[in-house]
């Protein structure tokens, strides 16, 4: 079992959701987040005084998958979020020790699927 965590551009969420849907990945958690990476942020000014905004708005996706879904999930996220521009985001894949479905008490791969 793996946990796939992806940070993407907020306006690409819809595209990513659609490409995940095409790959039959229907389950995900989405949260708003702020972050910075190579993208340098943008310049804002308020009443003539400038400020650099370097924490950009991002969307964080978390998807827990069984081994056979790892590659297609990653491919789907890239398909949906890639524009070729700095700021497209990153994907992290981590091992998942356990997963429990609260309703039934099922554990492991069964609980994910």
């Amino acid at each position: 079992m793996k946990l796939i965590i992806a940070y993407i551009q907020p306006h690409k969420l819809n595209d990513v959701k659609q490409s995940l849907y095409k790959e039959e990945v229907y389950k995900m958690s989405v949260t708003n987040s702020l972050g910075c990476g190579q993208q340098k942020g943008y310049h804002e000014s308020y009443r003539g005084v400038g400020m650099e905004v370097n924490l950009l708005k991002k969307v964080r996706l978390e998807i827990a998958v069984n081994e056979d879904f790892v590659d297609r999930t990653i491919k789907a996220i890239i398909d949906g979020a890639n524009t070729g521009q700095i700021g497209d985001g990153k994907i992290f894949v981590v091992d998942l020790a356990e997963c429990i479905r609260i309703r039934t008490g099922e554990t492991g791969s069964k609980a994910i699927g």
Binding site: Q9, P10, L13
Partner: protein, 467 residues
């Protein structure tokens, strides 16, 4: 390029202001109101003098009422700003507020300097040629000043309609140019055809002479704005993500419906200046026109509720808010000449029409109008204008008046469409070739607030936009 253009505009405004100031120095001091004899009893005053006192009293009542109405109509700018901000996304809020502020400001200057003269000056048959900057009118109590402020807020209403339909994707500099052009030329020239004889009554206004009736401006103000909005939305194309690849429309949710509702209430309130104020006289018809106006708005809201509930399965708030506005736009033309029952009928049709029209533009024509400005102002301005030909108690088709009046109303409304939509296409095409009409896709995704203005509307709030 942008800076150069701004400097030129600024220079023109300042120079024309200076020229007017110089002209003003030559004219004699303004004369204030004549004095009434102090301490005299009514019986002592000769009849002729009593008559003149009554006349002056009436004039002052007219001035006070028309000014109060103008201030109410000015407040409608706030209504438009709130409606448009509420119906669009958080990332474009600063941009739409700036557009609303600037179309009034640019429009006020342009209408004072040029537009008013084209609309109400001595006409050559097609447009007015005098009274630019109200030249020849002495500062002081002259009625023309009251008339100017009243007409300025009307011109600005037509101008501000367009910003909603072009929301979330238009370059700010292009919008500034558009604001100037509508108040300089497009609005006043058509206005001179329908209303050019309001101030100088022997002016030759060809539509008015044919019997075209538009009491407070369903056509002159709302349709002109609405059809320009249509031209703008067509030339821009839909917002990114509005249509799926298979052509199905997607919902792009407005970010603040409480603001949108506040805006509609403000507009409804302002309309009590728009319609009853168009008497430009303090007389008994004010109350009656307020009643017909209110009835049509209420009927519009109720019928939009019914239409949205039956067509869309739920009572939809944004459609119902649009319905109230549709009723108001429709009754604007016929408000002085229809019965209360007629007003309810006109508003009811408007309420259904606006729902159908929004769906029609969304699904069939695929014109992306984020706030429904074309349906509310263009389509219902048209309906309101035609409705006078049907429901007018004097000359309407349903009151045995035959088709003559209806025919004239059709002609006027069709002329307005051809004029505003045609010039609109040319204007926006020209802007797309010069300043550019639409922002880049990247800027549109990130939001015009940051792209155009470098400013967020909701700093300190966590507003996330995922569309």
């Amino acid at each position: 390029m942008k800076k150069l253009l701004l400097i030129i505009v600024l220079a023109v405004v300042l120079l024309s202001g200076a020229a007017l100031f110089a002209a003003e120095q030559d004219s004699p001091e303004g004369v204030m109101a004549a004095e009434a004899p102090a301490g005299a009893k009514v019986e002592d005053v000769p009849a002729a003098s009593l008559e003149s006192i009554k006349e002056e009293l009436q004039l002052n009542i007219n001035i006070v009422w028309t000014c109060v109405a103008a201030f109410l109509v000015f407040f409608m700018q706030a209504g438009f700003a709130m409606v448009e901000t509420g119906f669009t996304r958080a990332k474009n809020a600063v941009n739409i507020l700036m557009k609303n502020l600037m179309d009034f400001s640019v429009g006020s200057l342009a209408f004072f300097l040029v537009g008013f003269g084209l609309m109400f000056g001595v006409s050559n048959g097609l447009f007015g040629t005098t009274m630019f900057g109200l030249a020849g009118t002495e500062p002081g109590a002259d009625w023309n000043w009251t008339f100017l402020i009243f007409q300025t807020v009307f011109a600005a209403t037509a101008a501000t309609i367009v910003s909603g339909a072009m929301a979330e994707r238009t370059k700010f500099i292009a919008y500034l140019f558009y604001s100037a052009v509508i108040s300089l030329v497009i609005y006043p020239v058509f206005g001179s055809w329908a209303w050019g004889n309001l101030l100088l009554t022997d002016n030759n206004s060809w539509l008015a002479n044919m019997g075209f009736h538009d009491f407070a401006g369903s056509t002159v103000v709302h349709s002109i704005g609405g059809w320009l909005a249509l031209a703008g939305a067509v030339m821009l194309g839909p917002r990114l993500g509005k249509y799926a690849p298979d052509g199905k429309p997607r919902a792009i949710l407005g970010h603040n419906l409480p603001l949108a509702a506040l805006g509609v209430f403000i507009l409804w309130f302002g309309w009590f200046g728009f319609n009853p104020g168009s008497t430009t006289a303090g007389n008994g018809s004010i109350g009656y026109i307020a009643v017909t106006t209110n009835l049509a708005a209420a009927a519009g809201a109720v019928m939009a509720l019914v239409a949205s509930w039956s067509l869309l399965k739920k009572p939809d708030i944004s459609m119902t808010l649009n319905g109230a506005l549709a009723g108001l736009v429709a009754i604007t033309c016929p408000c002085d000449g229809v019965s209360p029952a007629g007003a309810i009928a006109i508003g009811s049709v408007a309420g259904v029409l606006v729902v159908l029209s929004v769906l029609f533009f969304d699904y069939v024509l695929k014109v992306d109008d984020p706030v429904g400005a074309v349906s509310v102002h263009g389509v219902n301005g048209l309906w309101g204008t035609l409705s006078y030909g049907l429901f007018a108690t004097d000359g309407g088709l349903f009151y045995g008046g035959g088709l003559k009046l209806f025919g004239v109303q059709v002609l006027g409304a069709a002329t307005a469409f051809a004029w505003a939509f045609g010039l609109g296409l040319i204007l926006f095409w020209f802007l797309s070739r010069t300043t550019g009409l639409r922002v880049s896709a990247a800027e549109e995704s990130k939001g015009l607030d940051i792209g155009e203005h470098g400013n967020e509307a909701y700093a300190g709030f966590q507003v996330f936009t995922t569309e």
